[in-house]
Symmetry: C2
């Protein structure tokens, strides 16, 4: 049975997540620069003292948002992939999971893309390491899919192009518009799958001639 300290801890982290949600929306709308700790406290319905009970500074709030976002993105990612059978289905799963996760946490995701570089170096490094871990999982699946038929440097391009196609939606995509998230994911999968398959085939033909 959970003891009272664990319960207290849980309540504390729930409150921190609520503050993070409120803050990331402010960072998106007003910009990190223009957002004050008072804005964050107001938006989270706390006094400034109440906010400082949870976070020592605005930087601290930013770090918490990004660390939490990456931890959640990584949570069970590898395990879930083991349950998807072949490489093309794994790629489809990655795209759809990546896009749905972003859309479910888009203010935190936008904060990652727009504000991560504003973190002090030592905190930025922790986030960058988590991003690298995520990248490596994606690159591993792509390596299986192309089955050694492209060079290592090309695998790097492939993995980042796939992430680029998924991540760039932060700059243009409105999930309330005519393109549903499901359609968006399928379209990205189609282009990427056909692109990589066509490229693989052409290389095989080129190598034979």
């Amino acid at each position: 049975m959970k003891n009272i300290w664990e319960l207290l801890e849980k309540k504390e982290s729930r409150q921190k997540i609520l503050i993070g949600k409120a803050a990331s929306k402010l960072f998106n709308d007003k910009g990190y620069l223009q957002t004050t700790t008072k804005d964050i406290a107001d938006s989270a319905k706390l006094s400034k003292g109440g906010l400082f009970h949870y976070f020592a500074s605005k930087n601290d709030v930013l770090y918490f948002i990004l660390k939490n976002y990456m931890d959640l993105a990584l949570e069970n990612f590898e395990h879930e992939l083991t349950e998807v059978k072949d490489a093309p289905s794994k790629i489809r799963f990655i795209i759809s999971r990546h896009i749905n996760f972003y859309l479910a946490n888009s203010s935190e995701g936008k904060t990652l893309f727009q504000d991560a570089h504003l973190l002090p170096t030592k905190y930025f490094k922790v986030i960058a390491e988590k991003e690298t871990k995520y990248y490596k999982i994606v690159a591993g699946v792509l390596a299986d899919f192309i089955n050694g038929r492209v060079e290592k440097s090309e695998l790097t391009i492939l993995a980042f192009e796939l992430l680029g196609m998924c991540n760039w939606i932060f700059s243009w995509y409105n999930p309330k518009g005519s393109i549903t998230p499901g359609k968006l994911s399928e379209f990205i999968y189609d282009i990427f799958y056909e692109g990589v398959s066509g490229y693989k085939e052409r290389r095989t033909v080129d190598n034979k001639t």
Copy 2:
């Protein structure tokens, strides 16, 4: 013949461009937030008074950098495209031009991706309009290429996916590494071209069955 006022103007704008270059490097390295007008003045080898002769504020410097970057990206873009013969070659040209332009002005480009949202709304709008103009040129070429074979909403996805593949390099690509800019451009072209061609063909087959 140019009169002295035009010459003066030219010297003035050259100085502004130098300040913009210095400032965008600082924004990349230290973050827009942490960069002070004194840092910018020091890096551009000016007194603070000297800097304020050219720019009223740090926001002003940011706006100048982004406006200049987009104006240069748009300069002659449409005209250059008229000189490339078919749609696939135009797509290849767009990718290579986009990537080379970014690499030649990467601190300004990074500033665009990372800091544009920090501009006050009325200035941000000017930059966003220029980005829309650029997007429309790209979407026009893609519309010719796919020749009406996908829906309008799919054309939007296609255009932004292409821009995403090109722009996302800001987060990972090192032009001094083993992947040359030429190879990167060709690879993106191959994936995108094969992806869209394969998708078009499959749709044609699907529609027949």
